[in-house]
């Protein structure tokens, strides 16, 4: 099986409250031959992934409601600043879930805040993209998808082609530092005014503690839809 075929099966869940950015990221991902589902909030993302937003994780899988849609995703790419649940909150929820923690998570933000970037990377994000995201950034996703290849029943086992160049694992804290500096100087000191994290961080931390372990995924119904866009 060729790598191109494998790529076309990779399913990316894109989370962004901006309708423009959702359209762009969808196109970027499709152009890179990924299947895409877009949602406009972290809570919708969790719903699709099979996690409730509230601490109702202890309920058995058979109690899933009929209209509760769940999908298999190979990677989550999320905006950082979103109302309600931030991308960081979503990251923590995913990494804190036994069934989802192996899904690579990539964070995007139009604001270059090194502390924010470092925290995301330290807490499990694979990459941090500065917006606007470019087609070249999509190439970086491939290595994470292949690295995290799991023997899930919907996914074929893929061995990377010998000639394929895998990106080096992300060890550096920030991407495009030269651009980062440019961003900061262009903006001036604006980031101090609003930190979109705010109270959500405390809420997420509290919820984290309450979340029980999710049961094994084998009993959960799964739908693999292509290009399913869930928007309000």
């Amino acid at each position: 099986m060729t790598v191109v075929d494998a790529e076309s099966r990779f399913h990316v869940l894109a989370v962004d409250d901006s309708i423009i950015d959702r359209k762009l990221i969808e196109m970027l991902l499709k152009n890179s031959s990924y299947q895409v589902t877009t949602v406009d909030s972290g809570s919708k993302a969790l719903e699709l992934l099979g996690l409730r937003d509230e601490a109702a994780e202890s309920s058995p899988p058979s109690s899933s409601s009929p209209d509760h849609q769940e999908i298999d995703v190979n990677l989550i790419i999320t905006d950082y600043c979103m109302p309600g649940m931030t991308g960081y909150d979503l990251l923590k929820r995913v990494k804190g879930s036994s069934s989802l923690k192996d899904i690579p998570v990539v964070i995007m933000s139009s604001e270059n805040v090194p502390a924010r970037i470092n925290r995301c990377l330290e807490d499990g994000a694979e990459e941090f993209f500065l917006k606007p995201v470019k087609l070249a950034d999509m190439k970086k996703l491939k290595s994470h998808l292949l690295k995290k290849q799991q023997p899930r029943k919907c996914q074929p086992q893929i061995q990377p082609e010998p000639e394929q160049r895998l990106e080096a694992p992300p060890t550096q804290p920030a991407h495009r530092p030269e651009e980062a500096l440019a961003e900061v100087t262009a903006d001036g000191a604006t980031t101090a005014v609003s930190d979109c994290n705010g109270s959500n961080k405390r809420k997420a931390a509290a919820m984290e503690q309450q979340e029980g372990l999710t049961p094994p995924e084998s009993t959960k119904p799964r739908l693999s839809n292509s290009s399913l866009a869930v928007e309000t």
């Binding site: 901006s18 423009i20 139009s110 606007p132 903006d187 005014v193 609003s194």
Partner: protein, 152 residues
């Protein structure tokens, strides 16, 4: 011949938008994403941008009326609008958004009012120019975007 002229016109208009700083490189990225499968992608993104940015500007206006001196709230709204400007490559409008946010940071309500008027003005001008550009592209036909002359 007709097609060639329209494409050239579109190319010239686009170049002037770049030269005058209305648009930046990001707009090219958007046009580059357009392909046979999505032949109207640029137009869709532009249309979406103006619809969404109008909504965001209304939010800001309402926030400035109903929540006087609530700079955090004003800034949060403007952050969203600025993000959209970034994403489409609306350079001048983005700069005015930055000025607004700086005024929020300085808690300068008067400055915010002035900046916001500039944001609205840039929005209006950009809308006019991009509408002309899209119109030219439409008239020039479904050929590739006006980056090079000649019909398909």
């Amino acid at each position: 011949m007709e097609c060639y002229n329209l494409q050239r016109q579109a190319a010239c208009l686009k170049r002037s938008l770049f030269d005058q700083g209305y648009l930046d490189e990001q707009f090219c990225q958007i046009e580059d994403l357009q392909d046979e499968a999505s032949p109207n992608f640029t137009e869709e993104v532009v249309s979406l941008f103006f619809k969404d940015s109008a909504r965001l500007m209304t939010n800001i206006e309402q926030a400035m009326e109903k929540n006087p001196r609530d700079f955090n709230r004003w800034d949060a709204h403007m952050q969203q609008l600025k993000g959209s400007c970034y994403s489409i490559g609306a350079s001048r409008m983005k700069n005015e958004c930055t000025s607004f946010r700086n005024n929020c940071g300085d808690e300068n309500a008067e400055g915010c009012m002035r900046s916001f008027q500039k944001v609205k003005r840039e929005h209006g001008v950009l809308r006019q120019k991009l509408e002309s550009y899209i119109q030219l592209l439409r008239q020039a036909g479904p050929a590739e975007t006006a980056t090079r002359p000649g019909c398909a």
